[in-house]
């Protein structure tokens, strides 16, 4: 159980406003599988961009592959636009150590050389282990390392946050 109250829908509204300010005419959104991908799809529709939205997976570049093995195989990268010279705004639900972002940036560069890569998140929970910083976070909070925060999407498309004690 948790005493933490995070209204994911309210935070989504703030993320939408923040991302809206960051968008340039040639920014493309790339969501990090899985929570970030949901967010990016909804943002792309709500912000009425006329560009396709990308999805990216960290699976093939994870640094904990040796311990965890290969993760969910449904996590695949799909970048339906030219990466060379693109201005990319990565979207994720939660940033913590920054290791997923490191892996995702490696994955991105397997497809080309973007002009710039930035990051916007719903929640920055601190605990960074790499020199990575989001340009926008709808909320900043500190959680015990034992707690896992993850975004869930209901059948109606609405977002909620789940906090779990990790084993």
């Amino acid at each position: 159980m948790t005493n933490l109250l995070l209204d994911a829908e309210q935070l989504y509204g703030e993320l939408r406003a923040g991302v809206g300010r960051l968008m340039t005419p040639d920014t493309v959104l790339v969501g990090i599988w899985s929570g970030g991908a949901w967010l990016a799809q909804r943002l792309n529709a709500d912000l009425k961009t006329d560009r396709p939205v990308g999805t990216i997976s960290s699976t093939l570049h994870r640094d904990d592959f040796g311990e965890r093995g290969l993760g969910a195989v449904e996590a695949t990268t799909s970048l339906p636009f030219e990466i060379d010279g693109a201005r990319i705004l990565l979207i994720d639900d939660v940033v913590a150590s920054g290791r997923t972002i490191r892996a995702v940036v490696n994955e991105l560069f397997d497809y080309g050389r973007p002009a710039s890569v930035e990051l916007a998140v719903l929640v920055d929970r601190g605990g960074r282990e790499l020199p990575i910083a989001p340009v926008f976070a709808a909320a900043k909070l500190t959680l015990p390392a034992s707690q896992r925060l993850s975004l869930a999407r209901g059948t109606d498309g609405r977002f909620t946050f789940a906090v779990k004690e990790s084993a």
Binding site: L60, F65, G66, G69, V73, E74, T76, D110
Partner: protein, 320 residues
């Protein structure tokens, strides 16, 4: 009494060696096929390489020659960023009298992480898996007449790619079934994945009746064998079978069991034609069929690399 554990699986039921498709649960076969789908897209990138096996050494141990299989394993390992060492054992230690296990002990001392083994003796990869260090993984790349699991898996990937599901298919395997490790692996995989009708097609000398015990329908008549089939897997007729009493001649064989356009017309209109290669044009398959619109022989080769990447990366992520 404790059931003896499948040597391919660890205590969590995860794959640590790939020795045979026989005895592997459907979930593991599906996991490999799903993972292969992910790796197929690596071919579309500017950088056709991912770092999952970075710092790992994969030793290709081919006690029996096979340039094609060895090359696809080598490409797969390199796309995963492994260091690949090819040992043509047929020409080295074994011919100097070193035993198989001594060879393995020496290569382990060179810090091998994975052995890809091709051997003319059935069971050789099992022997290696039993005696190698716990962190070392073994992939069977073909042992004797026994098994060729990655070929079986790439065949399953190909079938799923074109047919989407296994549950209503009729699959005909045509040719030298009795000597074929590919046929054996295919039959086990097709059975596990739920294919309702598997046919073994060929002359009595190459398709004996006791194959029925594997749950297949035995057909000695080619027309009966390919009728309404969704998938036709042609096997290579090995030249060495032609001498001796097994078969009269290549020409005679082609007349009875060669896949011609007329024969293919008996199968379903959307049937696919597969072959593990190398093909013998005019012996088991007509050129017009091999190069025709139903043939998926070359896509099989491409899928084979992704399937081998999937197998190696799944193994490398699991501990004994």
């Amino acid at each position: 009494m404790l059931a003896r554990r499948n040597p391919q699986l660890n205590s969590h039921g995860e794959l640590i060696h790939l020795l045979s498709i026989e005895g592997l649960p459907r979930a593991i076969l599906t996991q490999i096929l799903d993972t292969a789908g992910t790796f197929l897209s690596v071919n579309d990138r500017d950088v056709k390489k991912v770092p999952l096996l970075r710092g790992k050494s994969v030793f290709n141990l081919f006690f029996e020659n096979s340039t094609r299989t060895r090359t696809t394993f080598e490409i797969a390992a390199k796309r995963l960023s492994a260091d690949v060492i090819n040992l043509d054992i047929a020409k080295s230690s074994a011919s100097k009298g070193e035993s198989l296990l001594d060879t393995i002990a020496n290569l382990s001392a060179m810090h091998a992480d994975m052995f890809v083994v091709r051997h003319s003796e059935s069971g050789a990869p099992y022997l290696i898996a039993r005696h190698c260090a716990p962190h070392v993984h073994v992939v069977n790349a073909g042992d004797g007449r026994h098994a060729h699991p990655t070929q079986g898996l790439l065949d399953m990937y190909t079938i799923r790619h074109y047919k989407k599901s296994f549950h209503e298919l009729t699959v005909a395997i045509v040719g030298d079934i009795v000597h074929s490790r590919v046929a054996r692996s295919d039959i086990h995989a097709l059975t596990t994945l739920g294919v309702p009708e598997i046919r073994a097609v060929g002359p009595k000398t190459l398709v004996p009746g006791d194959l029925r015990e594997m749950g297949v329908r035995v057909c000695h008549d080619m027309r009966e064998g390919v009728k309404d089939a969704d998938v036709i897997i042609m096997l290579r007729l090995q030249n060495e079978r032609m001498s001796g009493a097994m078969l009269p001649s290549a020409g005679e064989y082609f007349k009875s069991y060669g896949l011609t356009e007329d024969m293919l017309a008996l199968a379903r209109p959307d049937a696919i034609v597969m072959h593990p290669g190398p093909i013998n044009r005019g012996v088991e398959i007509d050129s017009r069929v091999a190069d025709g619109s139903h043939s998926v022989i070359l896509p099989q080769v491409t899928f084979g690399i992704a399937v081998r990447m999937a197998v190696m990366s799944i193994l490398a992520g699991n501990d004994a």
